[in-house]
Point group: C2
Chain length 710, copies 2
């Protein structure tokens, strides 16, 4: 994203003038709606209808063509039928308009002729440099300027627009506007809404990249059906991280059924969901499961407050609500701990004796007749040093709501800590009043807890992985191995080569020597010392162990010689008379990891970690990181595995050398990153973990190279 | 619950006459509110204010005392201060009133003097047989009769009461009424609401037991903070199961923080949450995590429809919403599968070519201008044999909502399959219209999916465990073992006794003989054949293996003799010269389970199962069943373990003998049930599972008896 591009996007986001190509005088027609909407809501810039046959459109002076307009035009809304779009966009570019929105459908999403049209559109874009949102999109809302180049019907239910710090980008048009409407109803103030549609040019990532730079956007929300420019998205995430602006994202296609449906809907294969999940977590993007979770998180993120920790204090009218909140806070990673005695005593002074000053603090229903109690209790809570976040739980009590809301507002203004209200039941008027005051308010304790949990996760997020390439990589060895294989036209590296490759990246491998015959196998075993494994080393035989091509734990010259001879016989029978042997030291350690490298279509080279052995089946759990990772991020990846207790002391067995394992994962991630064009796949299986301080060792490794181009 | 009691509860639930003791003329005072509410909403029975100083209360003729009233009185609402309650309730009982509600607080919940008062109240109840709801409760709402013996402020926001098939019992007063209000706002019609407060007499279980027998109650909802009469609750669950009436329950105290808060709030220690969880699942109770989940489930259960399977078909205005629904349905145990080709062709005939007929069916936004398409698409869906449930996903589109709602209503009336609507955004008017038509309607796909998932779980619930006691239990052996231990004043059974005890219940144990000296150990090993374990058998030494008191895999007379002698030496050194030896056949099988028996304060004897070995630490997973269980329920318990894949084929190892393990669990559950008064705790660890057909074997077992009374 160069500077020029971003300028174009900024003019798209804040257009001081909008030309509407194909503007209709009929405010009900799709091509009349943008003008109707901007007139209704009072667009603050110049609205320029283009209509070859009318001098006035919906009461505004209209222009025959773009050339009849004086001055800069920031944005064109192209409301032409699909087959006129390409010419229209070319005209816009000629006129020097930096950005256009194309609403029409009938492009790639319908296949055939539409695909050709989209290609033509892309050619014009490439040729002229104009930036395009769409086609097949509902357009944009910029609420500050009331710039509404859109034909949405989302604003047809009456009511005002609620402006605020949240910008929202959606790949889905209709569902995006449903979410927009639901957000407005939930009291969430919006800065911008954009629908990217077919993304012939501007992707969600680029739009987010533009939005993150705008002052009025403090929170970014995205609804994604598939991500094709994963690395761009992560770049934006880095920038958002720097600016401390959260990105809240829903991405569908998490389940098999959802992925199948998404593919059928967007007609394109996106990267794997697990990769998206790992990549976004690694980059501080807050992923939400659904629409309501997205909006709930939006509500607590919107006021810009951050949590210093996970300790939640709750004050409630009902002891029961407090207990439920304690449960739901816990299941969202928050802590609801009793206050220490001294603070309990302070709280006890202001609440009734049959209440509870412990936390959850039970103020009891006396609150309704004595709202001053809530004020006093909140003053103490705001002072309490062990409180990172505050939740006030109320319900019904419309008649008493005025002074209660005053007390809450006073507390809210007096602290920079996150404070939310849960107001269950009642008429809804108190909730709306709190929303108008900018205080996040929910109806359900669980939803408030989930949103606060996400806020804590974001507030306490780890730094993004640093780009610190290990300085001890033996690039010459690496180049040699790859060159040899390429020269021989192979894409499969054998186990010896694969191990040397990772060894060159500093990954400890169990010592091994290749051997051509039984005698050299015996010699190799003597050099290694201790028990050895003898394995077939073949460029042709795939699953060695299936044909008995692996012998473990051998000692003594005679045993090794016999095994070596037998293995070579097996290879001959299997059709590879050129097979050699690999003699390998038997490795110590008994916790097994599998570390793999692969390429994701959206995010490029990634590292996958999981437990090996029987736990693979039981846990069915792996974690993905985008390469490269530093050691800290690698360690987080490992400890986020479900079986991560295995790294600690288990049944008297000392803790495993997690740091050494993390170092290996980081090194392999650099290998994945450096050799992205050469390595298609690489698996270390198993990586054996010894106890703390004794390191790890890669026992088996196999790498597959990318197919040569052409 | 005898017949008489239930009559009293039925009169409480459907009072044709209600006396209000301590009725105030002031409608704003707590003691004036019940009359104000019943006048306002039009109670259909006789309302009888009792006030010693007034002949009229709030315009109604008042009575000096109960004795001045002619005819039956079904219910008394005792609105007297705490210290007058006991006399008041006694008066009610004397007057022949079968049930009373006590609103006053100041009883057990405040401790001290209050506890004494509650004891006095309980004495009167025991003496007279009157049934009491409360004290410290908000009372009851019976919406059909507009019987509102309650002083709640939940109805002060205006609006009508929405009557319906759902009855709701809450231990929490204030939060219960918040939930009631939220339910009404969500369109959920309520039959009864009762708050049980301190439960001096009527527990949630008993109230549910009364409600389940009422014709107008089709769905039971409960909000629980602690369960003290677990077995009674399960009895009600059995009855509800027979009547096909679901019980939807939220129980707080799931997390440690929540349990601590609940304990502080209700001042009583309830049973463990895991036991509640297992017991209720086993008995078909639908447990929900929070308030909104409870109400959402209520909405889909309220129309009484059941799912024949888990296959969901969705029709949506927006492809994006369909994809999200597919994801969220999957994560709630539902299946969203593409229809077969023939049905896709039928669907394709009625939808636009750029839509999708696969399922999720994407009708596209054309729907808004052609609502007939929704009607036609729904007709096909209703006919489609692979559709168990239907979800229609819409949004905004208020202006087009009339014909869309008509199409939905027509489809809803034409099928008995569950059908829900998700209408996101918009003004909310279409949602309210659908609710008024009795069609469940949500704003968020995820919430609809979660509720449908619960409906499927309930519809397809397994039968409740049958009470089939195995007929091969050797009761004589059992009695003998217990008698010996009791006579010797022991509460600890040694390993040999424990194994004989479970063997008498038909649990296969690895063969074992006790031995007093090395020679008899050798003889025992010969009798057993194969390798043996030799262990100390001591009534005094606890952790045998910690002091080297266990030797495994021994063969050969000499080895066994030496080991035996060494073990007896160890025992002498450890201070137990009377210790003996246990010689045990080494068992086959390598998947380890732990099966335990313990007593829960609320639910009595329970069985706990989990994986043994290293997986204990990794999975930290166990499942609890209430004794007795049949083999089918035992098997469900085992397969609900997180590591249950281990029962199947893993890495080429054949599947384990799950049926044999389930049989053992069932037998141990009968032991727990039969010997509930004698066995405090019993652990089989490990139970080794061999491959299918080869059975299981209990290797180690230790039982602890209950402490003798006094």
């Amino acid at each position: 994203m160069g500077a020029v591009d971003n300028t174009a996007i900024q003019r798209l986001l804040h257009p001081r003038s909008i030309a509407i190509l194909g503007a209709s005088d009929n405010p009900i027609k799709l091509s009349g709606r943008p003008i109707e909407l901007m007139k209704r809501f009072g667009y603050t810039g110049r609205l320029l209808p283009i209509n070859a046959r009318r001098s006035e459109v919906q009461g505004l002076p209209a222009f025959r063509s773009l050339d009849d307009i004086d001055g800069d035009i920031d944005l064109a809304m192209v409301m032409l039928p699909a087959d006129k779009v390409v010419d229209g966009v070319r005209d816009c570019a000629k006129r020097g308009i930096p950005a256009a929105i194309v609403g029409a459908s009938g492009f790639a999403e319908v296949g055939g002729r539409g695909e050709a049209l989209q290609q033509q559109l892309q050619d014009v874009i490439a040729e002229t440099g104009i930036r395009v949102l769409g086609p097949n999109c509902l357009g944009m809302f910029s609420l500050r300027d009331r710039a509404l180049p859109t034909f949405t019907s989302a604003m047809d239910n009456g009511g005002e627009l609620r402006e605020g710090p949240v910008s929202f980008v959606s790949q889905s048009g209709a569902f995006g506007t449903f979410i927009f409407s639901a957000a407005q109803a939930a009291g969430l103030g919006i800065s911008h809404f954009l629908n990217t549609g077919n993304e012939a040019d501007l992707s969600v990532a680029e739009v987010l990249g533009g939005l993150v730079e705008t002052d009025e956007t403090k929170v970014l929300m995205a609804y994604l059906e598939g991500v094709h420019h994963g690395r761009e998205l992560l770049q934006v995430a880095r920038r958002a991280h720097e600016l401390d602006k959260p990105i809240l994202a829903v991405k569908v296609g998490r389940s098999e059924a959802g992925a199948r449906a998404a593919q059928s809907h967007t007609a394109s294969l996106a990267g794997e969901d697990a990769v998206f999940d790992g990549a976004t977590r690694q980059h501080g993007i807050v992923r939400l499961d659904g629409m309501e979770q997205l909006l709930d998180a939006g509500l607590v993120f919107a006021d810009g407050r951050r949590a210093r920790g996970r300790r939640l204090s709750t004050l409630s009218l009902s002891g029961g609500a407090g207990v439920l909140m304690a449960d739901q806070a816990s299941s969202n990673g928050l802590q609801v701990q009793p206050w220490d005695e001294a603070w309990q005593r302070r709280m006890a002074e202001v609440i009734p004796p049959f209440g509870s000053p412990r936390n959850p603090v039970d103020l009891t229903a006396t609150l309704i007749s004595d709202p001053g109690m809530l004020r006093r209790a909140l003053e103490i809570t705001v002072e309490h040093p062990g409180t990172d976040m505050i939740a006030v739980l109320l319900g019904n009590s419309d008649n008493a709501s005025g002074p209660l809301i005053d007390a809450i507002e006073q507390a809210y203004r007096s602290t920079d800590r996150p404070l939310v209200v849960v107001w269950t039941g009642g008429s809804g008027r108190p909730r709306r009043r709190l929303q108008d005051l900018g205080i996040p308010c929910f109806t359900d304790p669980g939803r408030a807890a989930a949103a606060l949990g996400k806020l804590a996760d974001f507030s306490l997020r780890p730094p993004l992985p640093a780009a610190e390439r290990p300085d001890d990589i033996d690039d010459q060895v690496v180049r040699g191995i790859l060159r040899d294989a390429r020269q021989q036209g192979r894409v499969q590296l054998n186990e010896y080569e694969s191990s040397r490759l990772i060894a060159a990246y500093g990954v400890p491998c169990s010592g091994a020597f290749p051997a051509d015959d039984p005698d050299s196998a015996v010699a190799a075993a003597r050099d290694l010392g201790g028990p050895v494994a003898v394995k077939l080393l073949s460029d042709h035989i795939g699953h060695k162990s299936d044909i008995g091509g692996v012998r473990l734990g051998l000692t003594g010259d005679a045993t090794i010689r016999t095994a070596a001879a037998e293995l070579l016989d097996i290879a001959r029978e299997a059709g590879d008379p050129a097979a050699r042997l690999l003699v390998q030291r038997m490795a110590g350690g008994d916790t097994e990891l599998i570390v793999g490298i692969k390429r994701d279509p959206a995010f490029g080279p990634v590292v996958v970690v999981g437990f090996g052995g029987v736990l693979v089946e039981v846990l069915a759990d792996s974690q993905v990181g985008v390469a490269p990772l530093d050691a800290a991020a690698s360690k987080r990846l490992l400890t986020s595995l479900r079986g991560s207790r295995l790294f600690g002391e288990v049944r008297g067995k000392p803790a495993r050398d997690l740091d050494a394992a993390a170092d290996v994962v980081a090194r392999l991630s650099w290998l994945a990153h450096d050799l992205a064009d050469d390595i298609a796949e690489l698996d270390v299986n198993p990586l054996l973990l010894d106890q703390v301080g004794k390191g790890v060792v890669a026992v088996d490794c196999l790498a597959v190279l990318t197919k040569p181009e052409k």
